[in-house]
């Protein structure tokens, strides 16, 4: 049974069940579709455990072999087990869990995203050179939206916020809608290719 055919057939059956339930309500497939969707939630939860096991394997090996900066791996594993043990035994409302979540995970995540402002500024410096009509339009549009969102923009010209909002509401909506329609057609095509087994990328990775 190492052939990929049963796997493709299973993908097709599950996919078609969910699609048929939506487009053919007369078939009364809601219960079966909800059951299968619930399976998906449970399998995804097991996959999170698989990710944790992978982390333990990779970083455990780094510690055992005393690879460079192995202590960072030890830190990672310590906090991984800390969260898992406290979260599963005591629950996510327990003070020790909330302490780590609020004082480590939240500020570190926020800072990591905030740090992107430096790289965005650097990217802006390179992108916002008015070499062509397209680059000039990009530059002007971004400048207006930024000035519209910052207090200094309103101080320079009172109508900057309104102009920024207009760009977001009209031309931005038009372009995003066009992109969304194009992406939807692409997603439908890809979905059909996956379901009929033309696209088999997801089958890779399992060494046989």
């Amino acid at each position: 049974m190492k052939s990929s055919t049963p796997v493709i057939v299973l993908t097709f059956i599950v996919g078609i069940l969910i699609i048929a339930e939506f487009f053919l309500p007369g078939l009364n497939l809601a219960n079966a579709s909800n059951e299968v969707q619930n399976w998906g939630v449970v399998i995804a939860a097991f996959a999170l455990g698989l990710a944790a096991v992978n982390l333990v394997r990779i970083h455990g090996r780094r510690i055992i072999l005393r690879r460079s900066e192995w202590w960072n791996s030890a830190l990672l594993l310590f906090f991984l087990f800390y969260m898992i043990v406290v979260g599963i035994i005591a629950g996510t409302d327990y003070i020790a869990y909330e302490f780590a979540f609020q004082n480590v995970m939240t500020p570190l995540g926020a800072t990591m995203y905030a740090m992107l402002s430096f790289w965005i500024a650097s990217a802006a410096y390179r992108a916002f050179v008015a070499r062509s009509i397209e680059a000039s339009i990009l530059l002007i549009s971004a400048a207006i939206v930024m000035l519209g969102n910052a207090p200094i923009g309103e101080a320079i010209w009172a109508r900057f916020p309104a102009l920024g909002s207009w760009i977001m509401d009209i031309p931005n909506t038009a372009a995003m809608r066009g992109i969304m329609i194009g992406a939807a057609i692409g997603a439908i095509a890809l979905g059909i290719r996956v379901m009929v087994g033309i696209e088999r990328g997801y089958l890779g990775g399992g060494n046989e």
């Binding site: 944790a52 096991v53 302490f99 926020a110 500024a121």
Partner: protein, 199 residues
């Protein structure tokens, strides 16, 4: 007391993450690993809670024995670690891909295609509506590559589409910059007000 320790911990972590702007350094790498550890642990706990509510409870309370199927499929994922049996992990992945594809297809057709096309069918009675309709049409035609070289009208329309998209990308970029900047202001405010009590 615990609040003070938490603030100090958050401040040290914030400084460690910010130190990456200077260069990658051991202080940053240590907190990067701590962040990944806590993040992965939190995700695992969330997964466990999902298993509890969608698998264990229906089995124990409702005697819903069909829930044994995802249990078996979920465990099959771990055959990736067993030499010669790794192919079995493809079955749960097939279910996941099937569910994902089915939900994407029906969601895409509804919200992304039909609803967006419907929203574009508006009367051309003011300049905003005209820009919306022409902009959307031109952007869609930009992605139609087949007839572009041979058809002049298509070439002009797709050029308009490109300009409209540049306005949108500029606006999105501007919004992203402002969003990141406000986050950075938030972190600096935390350091100066909550930690150092300067502000």
């Amino acid at each position: 007391m615990l609040g003070t320790v938490g603030t100090w911990l958050a401040a040290i972590g914030t400084l460690a993450m910010m130190s990456f702007a200077w260069r990658e350094n051991p202080f940053y790498r240590a907190f990067e690993h701590i962040y990944i550890g806590i993040g992965a642990g939190h995700a695992t706990v969330m997964g466990w809670q999902n298993i509890q509510s969608n698998l264990i409870r229906p089995l124990q309370v409702d005697r819903h024995f069909l829930s044994l199927v995802p249990l078996v499929l979920g465990l099959l994922l771990y055959t990736r670690f067993i030499k010669g049996q790794a192919y079995l992990s493809r079955y749960p992945i097939a279910v996941l891909v099937g569910v994902g594809t089915g939900l994407t297809l029906r969601g895409t057709v509804g919200s992304q295609l039909v609803e967006q096309v419907k929203a574009t069918m508006i009367p051309l009675n003011n300049i905003n509506n005209i820009i919306l309709v022409l902009g959307t049409t031109a952007t869609v035609l930009f992605f139609y590559f087949t007839a572009k070289k041979s058809n002049k009208a298509m070439g002009v329309t797709s050029k308009i589409g490109r300009y409209i998209m540049m306005i949108a990308f500029g606006a999105t970029f501007g919004n992203a910059v402002m969003g990141r900047m406000s986050m950075m202001i938030g972190r600096v405010t935390f350091l100066l007000r909550d930690w150092l009590s300067i502000l």
